[in-house]
Symmetry: C2
Subunit: 226 residues, 2 copies
């Protein structure tokens, strides 16, 4: 839930504000990870490069436990956790798109950056539970038939708003442009070298964040009337 | 040392680039911390609000151990660590300037944000060792007399360049303006509400980061010829 808000303020507007602010966090996290090269050796769990990290990083993704969650969400929501899919997407598909190849030996810093990215992405994607709950409450009559029929395809159709998705993708791309610029010290010049390619951030949302969020939404709704 | 560079590239230029990039990291970290209110209860070490955090956060600031450090720095440098001063500054002076009062119960996220801030500040300030070593190598004849005389005041004078310090303060303020803006999704509008007051970031550098870095530089140089 949006930081600083209590359960009684659980509204589409508060959720929306939190999702927009989380975009900034995700962009910041990716830019920080981009300071380091791939450092593949870190992800080989047989190596013990970072003291205290004996398993794969995915084991360290702690899902944000927000006190309000228990109050406002249907109890089935607690069991939904797609961190393994998020980890797989992050390591095998996203990382190679925005870090350079190579190894600089900075494994501890790289692991810390990865964890920040994974936490931010996990939090964003699992917010789908809140989004789904709000959508259900706003239009229970639309959602009840496909929920009772366990019709995931129909639920996915109901949840999809292509206009909003397009707007989100444009907005995160713009954030990567604004936040990723080199701010020069002199004469207000700003270079065009970005910390993370803005099109990669748009693609992250297009191919993974939005579809995985909708997967969480569907999983949540399917259980909503159990 | 700058990520991706080896010991042989230890130059004023590589150090300068890393310091400038670290400014971005510090601004990002502060903006992330500003998502939460003060959450004072977290800093009361008699409470056990965050599992695994039994002592004050300062105990968790791990100073970046960079492989290159041993190769390029005089051995006396390893003993210089002013994390306690950084922690005191951060908690008692800086935090109240950029977070709102109050408590929202998000202690784990707040602690993680604090740690990121403290790591970034600690790393930046202890880079004073590299800066001091470079300055010493560039002008050993200027530095040797005050080092032999253990004249900290004279060393501080030699290390101070007010023109550069002014430029740094202007640059970090600008970064807080650029990175801290609300990026709207529509019509390219950008609001003037910043995530962290840009003047606070300039003040952070003016009152704490620059003086503490120079303190590290002086401590390093005083031992340089032992």
């Amino acid at each position: 839930m949006a930081e600083g808000s209590s359960g009684s303020e659980f509204t589409l507007d508060s959720i929306r504000k939190s999702l927009i602010r989380q975009e900034d966090t995700i962009v910041f996290c990716l830019m920080e990870r981009a300071r380091f090269p791939m450092n593949s050796a870190l992800y080989n769990q047989s190596l013990d490069l970072v003291p205290g990290f004996s398993g794969p990083l995915v084991d360290f993704i702690v899902q944000e436990t927000e006190a309000v969650q228990a109050k406002v969400l249907h109890s089935g929501g607690a069991s939904i956790n797609i961190n393994k899919a998020i980890w797989d997407m992050y390591l095998n598909q996203l990382l190679p798109l925005f870090v350079v190849a190579g190894d600089d030996g900075n494994y501890a810093s790289t692991a810390a950056s990865d964890l920040s990215c994974l936490q931010a992405l996990s939090r964003r994607i699992h917010y789908g539970k809140f989004v789904a709950e709000i959508k259900f409450r706003d239009a229970p009559h639309d959602y009840e038939p496909p929920i009772r029929a366990k019709d995931a395809d129909e639920l996915m159709k109901l949840l999809t708003d292509e206009r909003v998705e397009k707007m989100v993708k444009k907005r995160v791309e713009k954030k990567a442009i604004v936040f990723g610029q080199d701010v020069s010290g002199s004469n207000n010049a700003v270079s065009k070298h970005y910390k993370v390619d803005p099109s990669v951030v748009a693609r992250l949302y297009d191919e993974w964040v939005i579809p995985l969020t909708k997967r969480v939404e569907v999983e949540y709704l399917i259980r909503r009337l159990d």
